[in-house]
């Protein structure tokens, strides 16, 4: 067990070092949220909606790092020819993925800093009326949801080269389903149904409720649903990791760039 913890910690450290010098990472947490906050504030202006622009920009960056960068990591391993080597190690892929993912979450969380800064300095807007305890808990629940989704998706990237292009293509779609920049209640009913099986959606609703958005205060329910869905993903992920060890070995797709 301690050997696995050590391996995950080392994967985290490696990933942090690689990311720190990776321009895509720095674009992802620094520039990308900025552009969306600016767009959001320009459209939503002042009033009660600016929280959506500022927090929303941060959420996009946070999610983007966890989801796209998490997938990128596997794709990069494939490109550099190291995917075979980590698959050939006596350490399960999930241990390595967890380490790497923690580093993407660290960088992703940084997204909130440029988002808040540009709102404050360029538009003189900030997120007000924060209810600290529910806000903090909601943030943790959201982080858990991101973590579980990304862990579950990673084996798909190892198995199929096209999996990454699918999730990458749908990155913006997820902003819609998660209600990152506007409430999902305005979406067509069928999309709301799709959004409701998406764990981050519930945590994001709680997060915005904690900034005074008029959703009611059913925090416990929202947190519980989000956590339950996240755990559901992990169960699916458990099967996927078992599958990846067999399937990737059968097709020999590990080596292909």
């Amino acid at each position: 067990m301690t050997a696995y913890v050590r391996a995950a910690a080392r994967a985290f450290e490696m990933s942090m070092k690689l990311r720190a010098v990776n321009p895509f990472t720095n674009f992802g947490w620094l520039v990308f949220p900025l552009i969306f906050v600016v767009l959001g504030l320009a459209l939503l202006g002042g009033g009660g909606k600016s929280a959506y622009a500022i927090l929303g920009g941060g959420l996009l960056g946070y999610w983007g790092m966890a989801y796209v960068e998490g997938g990128n990591e596997i794709q990069n391993e494939r490109w550099s020819g190291t995917l075979e080597q980590i698959m050939g190690c006596p350490t399960p892929l999930v241990v390595i993925v967890v380490g790497k993912l923690c580093s993407s979450l660290v960088f992703g969380a940084l997204s909130f800093f440029p988002a808040i800064a540009v709102g404050y300095f360029a538009f003189h807007q900030s997120v007000q009326n924060i209810d600290p305890v529910p806000f903090a808990v909601s943030f943790l629940v959201l982080t858990f949801a991101f973590f579980c989704m990304a862990v579950t998706l990673a084996p798909l990237y190892a198995m199929w080269r096209w999996a990454f292009s699918v999730t990458n293509g749908f990155e913006i779609g997820v902003y819609v389903l998660g209600g990152f920049m506007f409430p999902i209640s305005q979406l067509p009913a069928w999309l709301q149904v799709v959004a409701s099986v998406f764990a981050p959606t519930w945590a994001v609703r709680a997060l915005y409720a904690a900034t005074g958005q008029p959703f009611g205060r059913q925090y416990a329910l929202w947190w519980a649903v989000s956590i339950a869905l996240s755990c559901g993903y992990l169960v699916i992920g458990w099967f996927l990791y078992r599958l990846v060890d067999v399937r990737a070995r059968a097709t020999g797709q590990l080596a292909l760039a």
């Binding site: 391996a7 550099s80 050939g88 190690c89 006596p90 080596a255």
Partner: protein
């Protein structure tokens, strides 16, 4: 040598078929047979070489034996463990190095690379620290371990690969074309190192298409062609396979295609290789009873100027060419 008499690597009727699909609308399935029933039995401590042309199935065998690829049928065992069902137990006890420069984190230091894989191989920290130090020393990377890998020379990258492959002190080491792209000095150093590892008891499975490499260091060799083993034995026994054979070489100017074809048709001739030089062609003929052929060349190549005729004993390369050509 330790553990002599027990098999380190066994393969029984190993087959691998890759299925590829192509086309956007009408999906076409195409089977490519990479291995057609390969048998191997390699003893502990042996240094075994697998020779074959590109695309013959060398890498496929190595990937199956290192648990990275599943065979379509057949059985393979490493140290008595099954490569399909006991992959985890095998992975702890083997090392593998694939040739070329890929497979390292170029933007990190050599030391970072080694530490990372040491942890992935679940080596306790105190052990790994000592072992990394030793490996850096042995592989002549000391002093450069803090530099980024992207600044390393090809030879250094290859030595770093080898260091990574040796981190867990593997009982069986797989080397897939380890000297590819190395200069002659680098290649010789690597061969010396591999020989030393083998002398210390490590079983080494090496693929290569450099004949000299195989001849120089391998205890035993197998030649693979289109997914089948066509010869197996010590380097000298493989040469003996070509013993009644010999090689006739000569230079000639403008030998027309139909005469080359006529040479090929002679009963004693196995292969004719034509190499175009600036002003002449160099013809290499593998044949039985080379002396007789050389004597009769004059009448065969009537009216043409033949220079530098030589008749020689077969080398491992000749034996190999004979085995893999049609």
């Amino acid at each position: 040598m330790r553990f002599m008499g027990t098999s380190a690597i066994q393969a029984d009727q190993l087959r691998k078929t890759y299925t590829t699909t192509r086309g956007l609308i009408r999906r076409e399935r195409k089977d490519h047979i990479a291995l057609r029933g390969v048998d191997l039995d390699i003893q502990r401590g042996e240094l075994f070489g697998l020779l074959g042309p590109n695309g013959a199935g060398k890498t496929t065998i190595v990937k199956i034996l290192t648990t990275l690829l599943l065979p379509t049928s057949g059985v393979a065992r490493i140290l008595g463990l099954d490569v399909v069902n006991q992959a985890w137990a095998i992975r702890k006890r083997i090392g593998f190095v694939f040739g070329g420069e890929r497979g390292l984190y170029w933007r990190l230091s050599g030391l970072d690379n080694l530490r990372y894989f040491a942890d992935l191989y679940r080596i306790p920290p105190d052990v790994s620290r000592r072992r990394i130090g030793e490996l850096l020393e042995t592989l002549d990377l000391k002093g450069r371990e803090h530099d980024k890998v992207e600044g390393y020379s090809r030879g250094m990258k290859q030595r770093l690969h080898l260091a990574r492959g040796l981190l867990n002190q593997p009982e069986v080491l797989f080397l897939d074309e380890p000297t590819i792209g190395l200069d002659p000095v680098g290649g010789r150093e690597l061969r010396g190192l591999v020989r030393r590892l083998s002398n210390e008891g490590t079983t080494v499975f090496l693929t290569t298409h450099y004949m000299l490499e195989a001849d120089e260091i391998c205890d035993r060799i197998a030649v693979i062609k289109k997914g089948e083993i066509v010869a197996q034995g010590t380097p000298s026994s493989i040469k003996t396979g070509a013993e009644d054979q010999g090689v006739v070489e000569f230079e000639i100017e403008g030998l027309p295609a139909q005469r080359i074809e006529a040479l090929r048709q002679l009963p004693a001739v196995a292969t004719v290789i034509v190499e175009e030089r600036e002003l002449a062609q160099v013809i290499t003929i593998h044949c039985s009873r080379p002396g007789e052929l050389a004597a009769s060349l004059g009448s065969l190549l009537d009216g043409m100027q033949v220079r530098n005729v030589s008749v020689r004993e077969p080398t491992l390369e000749d034996a190999y060419v004979l085995l893999v050509s049609n």
